[in-house]
């Protein structure tokens, strides 16, 4: 046995070792762990994992605290995959919530989850349930907050979400810009590393993925917002980065060369259009936009009417040789929603988040053939089959049919060649013409674009107008 004085001194030494332990723990390890490994804090300041933990079954919570976060997230994600294939979409919603809490860095969960909310809850005619859009926005925002340096999520937010789904081009441009800033900043760091000889860290990792997605995307988004000159600058920036990447990869990556060629072609076309469109849009064009809404049965409508589109039937950019005439390919958007509805910002996507069963939103589009909206038959919109999606609880509804010149889905490029990026070629005296004047006139909460001209027709219907029997025409 040791003497008591020896014991005491050893005990004191052992306890004094808690000083370096405390220092290591609180000064060095904790901040690093929190920054790089810990589940991120939610916006309301509560630790994300503990919040998730309080909602999780005990086994998950246990696993979550013991280094199995990612394993559990991975396994749940496999399970989600099965639900996708079975079409059991409702089961996926809470799982996605849990998975991204457990592992906030699995990018494809945000991507797939948001895509699923945007597109996969549909009615019998494959129209998506737009009540899920606020959740999709919240999930993607969370994903970006947790993975600020991942261009993929910005691209998803900007393109799949705001451009394709919500058709809010200013917001699409906003997210592309943020993504591009990340890529550009990374490229600057990589370049510096290259200059000081850190070859191994100079793979432009991230930049090579990002230049195609957010780089090109940002250029397009600028164009769709009527900022053609800025788009030219952006295309040049993309070309610059493509060239750097080709140099770094010593020409071993063929796809990089192809990417450069794409950007180069886009820039040349844009410059060509910048040259000819100011000329071709000079003569005002009356498109004769006359949509008619016909109720054919309770909750069943047909959108018909006319839109006379003129576009470039032939356009050789190099020579300027072009020929205009009536063209197909335009599209009319239609939206029906509760009169007071605005796209809500739900802040955060939680386990309790659910759609409001009393809200009715329907959005559809009709292609224009031979100057007729929806062709000879019109576009039939049947809302009588899906009572959950179309509950029609509100007393009054706003129905909007519109044509947006800057939306390439509505106005194909050859039509834009005649009416311009923002509808400069439209005759302001025609029926249903509106100069938006920096105000948003589209339903929901779509950001305004200064100088945008549109063709819009709005009806206000009562519930009786919608659910009533027999044919009724709304002009």
């Amino acid at each position: 046995m040791l003497s008591s004085s020896r014991r005491l001194s050893l005990l004191v030494i052992a306890l004094l070792l808690f000083i370096p332990i405390g220092f290591l723990q609180t000064q060095l390890i904790d901040p690093f762990y929190k920054k790089n490994y810990a589940p991120p804090k939610q916006k309301n300041g509560v630790n994300g994992l503990s919040q998730a933990g309080s909602n999780l079954p005990a086994t998950f919570a246990l696993g979550a605290f013991t280094g199995f976060r990612e394993a559990i997230a991975g396994m749940l994600w496999v399970r989600c995959d099965e639900f996708f294939h079975n079409g059991d979409y409702d089961a996926i919603m809470p799982l996605i919530r849990i998975i991204t809490w457990l592992d906030p860095h699995q990018i494809d969960v945000y991507e797939t989850g948001a895509w699923h909310m945007d597109y996969n809850f549909t009615d019998t005619q494959e129209r998506s349930d737009r009540r899920y859009i606020p959740m999709s926005v919240a999930l993607l925002k969370e994903g970006i907050d947790n993975n600020e340096d991942q261009p993929d999520l910005y691209s998803d937010m900007a393109f799949v979400h705001y451009f394709r789904k919500i058709q809010d081009f200013p917001l699409s441009r906003y997210w592309f810009k943020k993504g591009w800033d990340v890529v550009a900043a990374k490229a600057v760091v990589d370049e510096k590393n290259d200059q000081i000889g850190l070859k191994e860290q100079t793979n432009f990792d991230g930049a090579d993925k990002g230049v195609m997605t957010v780089g090109h995307g940002y250029a397009h988004a600028l164009e769709f917002n009527g900022q053609e000159q800025e788009a030219v600058v952006q295309w040049n920036a993309c070309l610059d980065l493509h060239r750097k990447l080709i140099a770094v990869k010593n020409g071993t990556d063929i796809s990089e060369v192809q990417n450069l060629e794409i950007a180069d072609k886009q820039l040349r076309e844009l410059q060509g259009r910048l040259k000819y469109r100011p000329i071709d849009t000079k003569t005002p064009l009356d498109m004769g936009f006359t949509p008619i809404l016909v109720r054919v049965a309770p909750k069943v409508f047909v959108l018909q009417g006319t839109l006379k589109a003129i576009g470039a039937k032939k356009f050789v950019l190099e020579t300027g040789e072009r020929e205009f005439g009536p063209v197909d390919g335009c599209r009319i958007e239609i939206r029906l929603q509760d009169e007071s509805y605005k796209l809500p910002d739900i802040g955060a996507y939680t386990l309790g988040t659910a759609v409001d069963p009393n809200v009715t939103i329907m959005q559809d589009a009709a292609s224009v053939r031979g100057g007729k909206i929806g062709g000879d038959q019109g576009r039939k919109i049947d809302m009588s089959q899906d009572k959950e999606m179309y509950s029609f609880k509100a007393p009054r509804y706003t129905v909007t049919a519109w044509f947006t010149p800057n939306n390439p889905n509505d106005a194909p490029i050859q039509v834009q060649d005649r009416i311009g990026w923002l509808g400069e070629g439209l005759d302001p005296k025609q029926k249903n013409f509106v100069l938006t004047d920096g105000k948003s006139l589209l339903p929901g909460e779509v950001s305004p674009i200064p100088g945008l001209r549109m063709l819009i027709k709005t009806w206000t219907l009562t519930r009786e107008d919608i659910t009533g029997a027999g044919k009724k025409v709304f002009r």
Binding site: M1, L2, R7, L10, L11, I13, A14, L15, L17, F18, P20, I21, G22, L24, Q25, T26, L28, I29, D30, F32, Y33, K34, N36, Y37, A38, P39, G45, N47, L49, S50, L62, F65, T66, G67, F68, R69, E70, A71, I72, A73, G74, M75, W77, V78, D81, D103, H105, Q106, I107, D108, N147, D149, Q150, G206
Partner: protein
Amino acid sequence: MKTIWLIASGTFGEAMRRKVLLIFLFAGLAIILMGVAFAGLATQARDLTVTKSLGLGVISLAGVFISVILYITLIPQEIERRTIYSILSKPVQRYQFLCGKFLGGLMTVLLNIALMGIVFILLVAGKQWFQYGVNPGPAMLSLSKGILMIFFQMTLLGAVAMFFSVFLSPFVNFFLTFAVWLLGNASSLTEALADPTSDPNHPKSAIVVGIFKVVHVIIPNFANYNIQNPIINPHEHITNEPIYIAWNILYAIVYTAILLTVGSLIFDKREV
């Protein structure tokens, strides 16, 4: 030191024959094999995410069971079988015996984790190389980092179990060590409790903050060693990760030294 090494090697030889440990080793290897063989996932990224996270999780769980079950019995078993009498009646100090036992246990844990780790890394590398045609080098390196951290987590956990085994029965020790492990994994919670600004709506008194600070420092922190996330999501880049790993290795060594010192002091007075 020679004495410690002798006792360690005797312990290692004996521990490697423990059937219960072999069960966890083979169960771990079987799950790893199944996880790697698991096909039918949509994309390469998802497949590897699941494979890597499952494999690291299984190695760490098997490691926890192996080290806890091993360390809670190392000392009590010596007493029960009376081998301790013939050893301690030789010129062996009690602390040498304790440290030797710890080291022998650690060699066993290291071998078990290394076996699972090597099999796992090779399988993932094979999958990347043959199935997806991806250079497996970076993944092999990052998985090795994860397994290294699992090993040091088990070092610390083993030291906790061995410390308790000096004065507790294996049964009580099993639950206590597990409780400490869970608590040490929830270090973000104790840290939040010790943070006066963590919840602006409910300000905490200085005493409460102080108590939780002490608790946060005293409880061995196991969550630090869970660095799987960037390994599983390779797009996550962490600067200065080697320094962080070095801090945690240092933490494990210093904390183990505390536990072994205090454990030796208690064991020195313990009647066997």
